[in-house]
């Protein structure tokens, strides 16, 4: 289960597989790295380029007068990037990750739209060259597509925002959890439906603290993203009174995610890696790319639960949640995409629903009116989380409850009971107004 981990979104993976060439080489040179790199081809096929996805459900008229239907076009821009593949076959990214969620959002918007004489359309740009992606998006914006859902690297997202400066455009980041994009690098024209790492870490921490598992053994991977996740965990520990008893970095060279056998060595390696730790209650693992974290449960030296990016995970959505009418939502998605909904799909669905909600409430298709409404105090969108979701007016982040779950089941929903806040309990998750480094919203 990805924890809002954008970079799993794409299925390149060839280079990454090779890069991992030697996970347990030191232990077993004999085990041939036989797994054919192309064996994942069924999931790694490059997504079809720029296929427009017409979702034009014919608007049914509520009466006979056939009023004029106003169209609100939405653009979805994905930067295809090479990312390592996760360990579990179950976690391999589907080709339409995120896109399927956006499509469902369009369908839902149009069901409402037929009563409002509004119609939403979706067009997609998928591109691996950031410069070309940006140029294509700018062209579309100039042609009248003002709402752009973005799944791109932090650098590309910022460049895209720069390129659109002065134009009528709203970017909605549904993929990246980076706090920096809401803080020091925040932009007034970028909203975020993806929860931040700090929101995810706080959601997890509140539950661990409620459980009185206050002593954490922090195990982190070598990547930059793992360091950022670990930062969020450290911050959460401090905020909620937990203690990190020791940190260990997983420095083994990661290997190919698949080989015939393999469990024998993992079974030896993980206990050794977690041996002789000071007393602790729970392992917290920071491994966003799933290079080793999913090996930890049931293999640690001490019998301890695992949380973080593996085991007990905090994320924006879970395919098994049925609370708050979620069943119908899950069913609709499965019918549309022929698979279960992942957090990034949910984030993309929310982005489209935000636009739809604003259009229905303002009864308008005017860009500025919609954006002002979304950022304004009366905006609220329902997202199958039991409370209304709204935009933080200091950094453009959508505030929302966070699910804490295991691969099969929901465990709890944060914020936890007893964590209080003067304005919204949802703001106990992530960077709060007094702490923000974002200036774009106050100028």
């Amino acid at each position: 289960m990805a924890n809002g981990n954008a970079e799993r979104a794409h299925s390149g993976g060839m280079i990454a597989c090779l890069r991992r060439g030697a996970l347990f080489a030191s232990l077993a040179a004999a085990l041939a790295m036989a797994a054919p790199v192309r064996s994942l081809a069924e999931d790694a096929a490059p997504p079809a380029a720029a296929a427009p996805a017409p979702e034009a459900t014919a608007p049914a008229k509520a009466d006979e007068t056939a009023p004029k239907v106003a169209v609100i076009p939405i653009l979805l821009a994905r930067e295809l990037r090479e990312e390592p593949l996760p360990l579990s076959l179950l976690d391999l990214p589907p080709k339409d990750l995120g896109l399927a969620g956006a499509k469902l959002g369009i369908t839902d918007n149009n069901t409402t739209g037929r009563f409002m004489n509004q119609e939403f359309t979706l067009e997609t740009i998928e591109e691996s060259d950031p410069a070309k992606l940006i140029a294509d998006v700018v062209q579309k914006v100039d042609a009248g597509m003002h709402f752009v859902l973005v799944d791109a690297s932090p650098a590309t997202l910022l460049k895209l925002s720069d390129a659109l400066k002065g134009k009528e455009a709203l970017l909605i980041n549904y993929a990246l959890p980076d706090d920096s994009l809401r803080e020091e690098d925040c932009r007034a024209d970028v909203l975020h439906t993806a929860p931040t790492r700090s929101m995810l870490a706080d959601a997890l921490a509140q539950y661990l603290v409620w459980k009185k598992w206050n002593r954490w053994l922090l195990l982190l991977g070598p990547t930059e993203k793992d360091k950022l996740y670990a930062d969020a965990i450290r911050r959460a520990a401090k905020r909620f009174g937990a203690k990190i008893v020791e940190e260990r970095t997983f420095t083994y060279d990661s290997g190919n995610r698949r080989s015939d056998g393999g469990f024998e060595q993992v079974q030896q390696q993980i206990p050794t890696f977690t041996q002789s730790a000071p007393d602790y209650d729970v392992v917290v693992v920071a491994d966003e790319s799933s290079l080793f974290g999913d090996y930890l449960p049931y293999r640690t030296w001490d019998a301890r639960p695992v949380a973080g990016t593996a085991g007990l995970v905090a994320e924006s959505w879970h395919p098994a949640i049925e609370l708050w009418g979620g069943t119908q939502f899950q069913n609709r998605f499965k019918r549309l995409a022929d698979r279960t909904m992942r957090p990034i799909d949910y984030n993309a669905w929310l982005a489209v629903r935000m636009i739809g909600e604003a259009a229905a409430r303002t009864k308008s298709t005017n860009f500025k009116e919609l954006v002002d409404y979304i950022k304004g105090p009366s905006f609220e969108v329902a997202g199958f989380k039991g409370v209304g979701l709204s935009v933080r007016n200091w950094n453009g982040q959508l505030r929302q409850p966070i699910l804490v779950d295991t691969p099969k089941m929901l465990v709890t929903v944060s914020p936890q009971q007893g964590f209080l806040h003067q304005s919204s309990v949802l703001d106990t998750l992530g960077v709060d107004k007094p702490e923000t480094k974002c200036k774009a919203y106050t100028q």
């Binding site: 509520a62 009466d63 839902d108 069901t111 409402t112 009563f115 409002m116 009418g325 069943t327 409370v387």
Partner: protein, 327 residues
């Protein structure tokens, strides 16, 4: 059920020397237990569960046939409606519905039945005698609340994700107006005079009162409870007294029922009940209001005249729907 009607007994023996009569008549309340796949039967005089009987999977919305003989239950996970005998608790028959039926309402004439099917954006019209689907009405995303005008001419359905009250002509089965309300509308109900339509918005935290004649919003009821977070105030069930003067609104995880003056739309009082209160039903004499409290597995009994909670009755797990029979 041979329960003696206490009021009648007192009258018969003591004639006019009536004590301050407590809820005099023994009625029967039926409560669907969503988690237990059962129905709890409550004697409203003894205020206790006298029987629990098994039904289909995930029972939610529940109503009675006009003659009181049938208990009609949405068994959502079976994608069907079950009909039980209200005396013997035996399954009489099943009625078709679309997928995942949740709430239903009968035409005042006793037939047909209108069912909100959450999973396919349709209201299904079912003839309860023949057991046949006689119509489908397309509405918004996740249809839920079902309100019927007292004259039976207008059906109102709310759709949870579209956030609208859809006004449907019951003769043509066509939607003739749609009114936007706050987020996630759950329940729609007309006042007895048919001059107000009340719609609760669970996520919006409000109740919208609409004039059915011109479909204009008359006003909104807002709630504020000291010590309860705004997010916990989630209006769901609504009931209006027979005289039309007072409305009761169940506020979900705020664990309270709001008492509202229907003229000023001001909250007069909040009554503390069990946890996650959703649906409610009056006894036929209007003296008691029973609430289903999903998270605490009980039913609270409100004395309507005194505006006091007088008892809580343990039910099965996650009590959801409730209906009270006039016997």
């Amino acid at each position: 059920m041979k329960r003696i009607k206490v009021g009648a007994l007192l009258l018969g023996t003591l004639s006019a020397l009536a004590l301050p009569v407590p809820a005099a008549y023994a009625y029967t309340a039926f409560v669907t237990n969503e988690k237990d796949n059962s129905v709890s039967v409550i004697d409203t005089e003894k205020l206790e569960v006298i029987k629990t009987f098994p039904v289909g999977q995930r029972p939610r919305g529940v109503i009675l046939s006009n003659d009181g003989k049938w208990l009609i239950v949405c068994t959502s996970d079976d994608n069907i409606i079950q009909v039980y005998d209200t005396k013997t608790y035996q399954l009489v028959k099943t009625l078709p519905s679309g997928p995942d039926p949740e709430l239903l309402i009968l035409h005042p004439s006793g037939n047909p039945l209108y069912v909100a099917n959450e999973d396919d954006n349709l209201v299904t019209v079912v003839d309860i005698q023949s057991g046949k689907i006689v119509g489908d009405i397309p509405v918004g995303v996740e249809p839920e609340g079902m309100g019927m005008s007292p004259d039976g001419k207008v059906l109102v359905n709310t759709s949870e994700t579209t956030n609208m009250a859809h006004f449907i002509d019951t003769t043509t089965h066509k939607t003739f107006d749609n009114v936007l309300v706050d987020s996630r509308p759950r329940v729609a109900i007309f006042n007895p005079a048919g001059t107000q339509l009340w719609v609760s918005s669970e996520i919006g935290g409000t109740v919208t009162v609409i004039n059915p004649a011109d479909r204009k919003v008359i006003g909104k009821v807002r709630f504020e409870i000291p010590g309860v977070t705004k997010e916990a105030i989630q209006p769901v069930g609504i009931r209006i007294t027979q005289d039309g003067k007072t409305a009761f609104v169940a506020l979900g995880p705020a664990n309270r029922v709001a008492v509202i003056d229907t003229e000023t739309l001001q909250v007069k009082k909040y009554l503390l009940v069990g946890q996650r209160v959703w649906q409610m039903a009056f006894t036929p004499d209007g003296k008691q209001l029973l609430t289903t409290n999903g998270a605490s597995n009980d039913v609270s009994v409100i004395d309507v005249a005194a505006l006091k909670v007088i008892k809580s009755i343990r039910t099965g797990r996650y009590p959801w729907g409730i209906v009270v029979a006039p016997f």
